[in-house]
């Protein structure tokens, strides 16, 4: 295993920048997730690390060595592909042995390593099967074993779970994460699924339009999003459009005067996480903001309930409450009061 560094990495096709000036340092044994909507440049970045795409500018350093110009077959990076990309005409054992044969290991060593690696992903005894005789989850584990068998300096995961059904995905997330910890694998994973990203990562990188928007832990991204995009992409939030009149004073487009923290005078949006607001029958005392409104929509999610409250013709807020015994659950059309402390909202100037 080794550390990985991307310095000023860019890829452009003519005028279009797929990736723009990405710099990241991934520590030895760290699990980093590149998160972003499709087309944000996360996969291009991963493929530049693997060597499938040649960067227009910048460098990739693996274990201190500059590998920017090395072809894929000369880098020691193990990749798990979205489609798994198993060799259909080879058995499971032959698939896992392929990388070892390329490394010119002896037959005895190869057989032993294949057996060990298959045991690691709980596929002992499956060596003689063909990929098409396996379930999706098993195929995914073969792909992982094949990448691990070569003892890569870095493990690259390209949306590895997107072809699994929801229930299996939850199990595999934890399996991969445990394996990664146990083996101390430096790992870079690409995903557009924020829940997956939040469960698995040590650190996350949010990308949009080819650029890194924020790097940080789950808590950093959720509690202190760097910009409006990150706030909207990681977790849920309601945006209210309006103007900052003076630091701490926000006026929404619908005319609501709201207390907030910070902000420069001018156009801005106020971002409020649904679970940070409260809803009650009467005005909420002790909160910086308390406003009357009407319930427009209620969505019952089991443990949680989403309540959409109309505050003014132009302002609608989502409040999420826990589904507790004896708790107040408003109904559609009911007049309610909504409140939150000034510190719960975050201002993003435009």
């Amino acid at each position: 295993m080794a550390d990985l560094a991307l310095n000023g990495l860019s890829k452009h096709y003519g005028d279009f920048y797929a990736v723009r000036d990405v710099s990241l340092a991934i520590a030895d044994g760290e699990f980093l997730v590149l998160l972003g909507p499709s087309g944000c440049g996360k996969t291009t970045t991963l493929r530049m690390v693997a060597g499938f795409i040649e960067p227009s500018a910048g460098e990739v350093r693996l274990g201190g060595q500059d590998v920017t110009l090395l072809p894929p077959w000369k880098r020691n990076a193990g990749m798990v592909f979205q489609s798994y990309a198993l060799f259909p005409h080879m058995t499971v054992a032959q698939n896992v042995a392929f990388g070892l044969e390329m490394r010119k290991l002896g037959r005895v060593d190869i057989d032993q390593r294949v057996e060990e690696t298959l045991a690691l992903v709980r596929l002992d005894g499956f060596g003689g099967r063909l990929p098409r005789q396996l379930s999706g989850g098993q195929q995914q584990r073969v792909a992982l074993a094949r990448a691990l068998a070569i003892r890569p300096d870095v493990l690259l995961l390209d949306e590895p779970l997107s072809n699994l059904d929801a229930k299996l995905r939850q199990e595999v997330r934890i399996e991969i994460r445990e394996l990664q910890r146990q083996l101390g694998l430096t790992t870079v994973m690409v995903t557009h699924d924020q829940e997956e990203a939040l469960t698995m990562a040590d650190r996350l990188v949010v990308m949009n339009e080819g650029a890194v928007r924020q790097v940080g832990t789950q808590r950093d991204l959720y509690e202190r999003p760097a910009d409006r995009f990150v706030a909207g992409f990681v977790g849920r939030t309601t945006f209210l459009g309006g103007t900052v009149k003076a630091p701490g004073r926000f006026r929404s487009d619908g005319g609501l005067a709201l207390a907030c923290t910070g902000g420069r005078p001018g156009r801005a949006v106020l971002s409020l996480r649904p679970e940070r607001a409260m809803v009650g029958r009467a005005a909420l005392s002790g909160l910086d903001n308390s406003l009357p409104g009407t319930v427009e929509f209620v969505s019952y999610l089991g443990a949680l309930i989403d309540i959409h409250v109309r505050l003014s013709p132009k302002d609608r807020l989502v409040v999420q409450i826990a589904n507790r015994d004896g708790g107040f659950t408003p109904e559609v059309g009911q007049p309610v009061h909504v409140g939150w402390p000034a510190s719960a909202g975050q201002i993003f100037n435009e």
Partner: protein
């Protein structure tokens, strides 16, 4: 009830139409095969009796034997060389993105569309030019004949291999490179096994196309060196005894066997 009758009627209509189509294709083959076993020399119905004498007669005609031998050699060579040229061409067309890709792909399929007589004439003229220009024997030589057959064989190879390539997951090739295989090893160990069905089918169609070609070959054969279809044609100008039918049956059986054997390894219906 009415709906059920309707459905039944529709199924019968569909099956009937299929039967007519199939019958139309198979009927000549059935008659030729039947005829090959007639005893009498002049084909007439009903047959006076059955025998295998016309099959024995094939071997008495040295022309048939040597025609078969020439056709077989030409077809085998054209197949091998057609694969050597067609497979890389298909790889290039399927994998590389270049400006003239579309026109080039169409050009490689042209020999199927251009009438054999036109192709034959063009090649004959070309051979005359080459012979004059280079001062060497070209017209009517065995290798000129093979060269011509390679042209009509390539479209089949290119078409079938291209179809096969489009079903290959490019990620498997990337996976191989990721695991340490250079492009050369990747091709031999990953791509080639994946397109094997297309190559086998392409080889079969190449062989059959070359073996059965008449029109173009007419322009390219030399004295004393004739392909089987031409021998058959020449024989028919003088005689109409069932020897020709027997020769046809032998051909049908050979090609049918080749297809059945191929189909055991490669499901032809999936590639073609």
């Amino acid at each position: 009830m009415i709906a059920l009758l309707h459905r039944r009627a529709r199924r019968w209509a569909l099956n009937g139409a299929a039967a007519v189509g199939l019958g139309y294709i198979l009927l000549p083959l059935v008659f030729v095969t039947w005829l090959a076993f007639f005893h009498q020399e002049i084909p007439s119905f009903p047959p006076e009796g059955y025998s295998l004498r016309w099959f024995a007669a094939i071997l008495d005609q040295r022309k048939f034997v040597s025609g078969f031998s020439v056709s077989f050699q030409v077809a085998a060579l054209a197949m091998v060389l057609g694969l050597a040229l067609g497979v890389p061409a298909a790889l290039c067309l399927a994998r590389r993105n270049f400006r003239l890709r579309g026109p080039l792909a169409n050009l490689l399929l042209m020999p199927i569309i251009v009438p054999g007589v036109v192709l034959g004439t063009a090649m004959y003229v070309f051979h005359v030019e080459v012979e004059n220009g280079l001062d060497m024997d070209v017209i009517g030589t065995f290798y000129a004949l093979v060269a011509g057959h390679i042209v009509i064989v390539i479209p089949w190879v290119v078409r079938l291999v291209t179809a096969s390539l489009s079903g290959v997951d490019r990620a498997t090739e990337e996976a191989a490179q990721n695991l340490g295989a250079n492009p050369w090893i990747t091709f031999w160990r990953i791509t080639l096994p994946a397109i094997r069905p297309g190559i086998v089918a392409g080889a079969l169609f190449a062989f059959v196309t070359s073996f059965g070609n008449l029109e173009m070959s007419l322009f390219l054969v030399g004295p004393g060196r004739t392909t089987l279809p031409i021998v058959i044609l020449q024989y028919l100008e003088w005689k109409i005894d069932p020897t020709i039918a027997a020769v046809s049956v032998v051909q049908i059986v050979l090609i049918g066997t080749a297809m059945l054997i191929t189909d055991r390894y490669v499901k032809l219906a999936r590639v073609v």
